[in-house]
């Protein structure tokens, strides 16, 4: 029990650091693309509450949503928001990373209010069944 608790504490800190690193990398790339004119809209990733019904075996207790929001620049249409979501969901490596770091919901939002779309991440990658007693 002691070893489990200790490893869980270490894992929690490690995951927290990896989550922050991933969000930071995304935001840096989005900023560079916006400045270089590659992207007409500045995207910003953040951590959100998430959808509790989308939980999976790696889900965190709290804040399980990964939100990408159009920040400034051109206002995005619903089709564009859906397309951004599809691009992210098509990247299997990124989806796998999001899942193992405890996220279960992907949200793409416009710049105003709660206008946006959300997806259940576990639908886009087959998660093996793990034996917890192994």
């Amino acid at each position: 029990m002691l070893d489990n608790t200790w490893n869980n504490i270490l894992d929690w800190f490690r995951d927290r650091s990896e989550r922050a690193k991933l969000i930071r990398s995304f935001n840096e790339s989005a900023r560079s693309a916006f400045v270089a004119g590659i992207a007409p809209t500045l995207l910003k990733a953040s951590i959100s509450k998430g959808e509790s019904s989308y939980k999976h075996q790696f889900s965190n207790w709290l804040n399980t949503g990964s939100r990408i929001q159009a920040f400034t620049g051109r206002v995005l249409t619903k089709d564009e928001l859906i397309h951004i979501g599809k691009v992210i969901l098509d990247d299997k490596v990124l989806v796998r990373r999001l899942i193992v770091l405890g996220w279960d919901t992907l949200e793409i939002h416009g710049d105003a209010g709660a206008y946006g779309c959300k997806w259940q991440l576990k639908d886009y990658i087959p998660l093996p069944k793990f034996n917890e007693n192994e």
Binding site: L2, D3, W6, N7, L10, E18, L22, S25, F26, E28, S29, A30, S32, A33, I38, A39, P40, T41, L43, Q57, F58, H83, I84, K86, V87, I88, D90, D91, V93, L94, R96, R97, I99, V100, P128, F130, N131, E132, E134
Partner: protein
């Protein structure tokens, strides 16, 4: 009365000697005690180190493998805004129906077209396919 005083003085002397002896031998006992404590500490550390080592479970392996892979965020951002346009251009120019007489080119176009459809949200891969189409199918973009 005087005898009592002598006895008292003798007792004090004896007590003083006992205290001195105890202090002298106490230094040696402390040394061994600290050695034992250090030994205990080392044993406890080795046991805990072994016990607290992260278990190599299938779940942990899956997680570690996922964390090792690199993610190309620049490509993701670029694809979010520019992949549709490139895909539309490529799917028209590389369609196998454009090469009905040349069977070799038709076959190459078929393969490239399938790859284009599979990677329609990935600008980096689409650009590679565009280059391949220019070289193998002699298409001008």
């Amino acid at each position: 009365m005087k005898m009592n005083d002598n006895l008292l003085q003798d007792s004090i002397k004896v007590a003083g000697q006992v205290i001195k002896k105890t202090t002298d031998t106490g230094a040696q006992i402390n040394w061994w005690m600290w050695l034992a404590v250090a030994e205990l500490g080392i044993i406890a550390f080795l046991i805990l180190k072994e016990k607290l080592k992260p278990k190599d479970t299938a779940r942990q392996r899956f997680k570690n493998e996922s964390l090792k892979e690199d993610i190309d965020f620049n490509n993701i951002i670029n694809s979010s805004f520019n992949s549709l346009q490139l895909y539309d251009e490529l799917k028209v120019k590389c369609h196998p129906d454009r090469f009905p007489t040349d069977m070799e080119k038709n076959s190459i176009a078929e393969t490239i077209f399938q790859e284009i459809s599979k990677n329609k949200n990935n600008v980096k891969r689409l650009l590679e396919l565009k280059e391949e189409a220019i070289q193998k199918l002699n298409i001008n973009f």
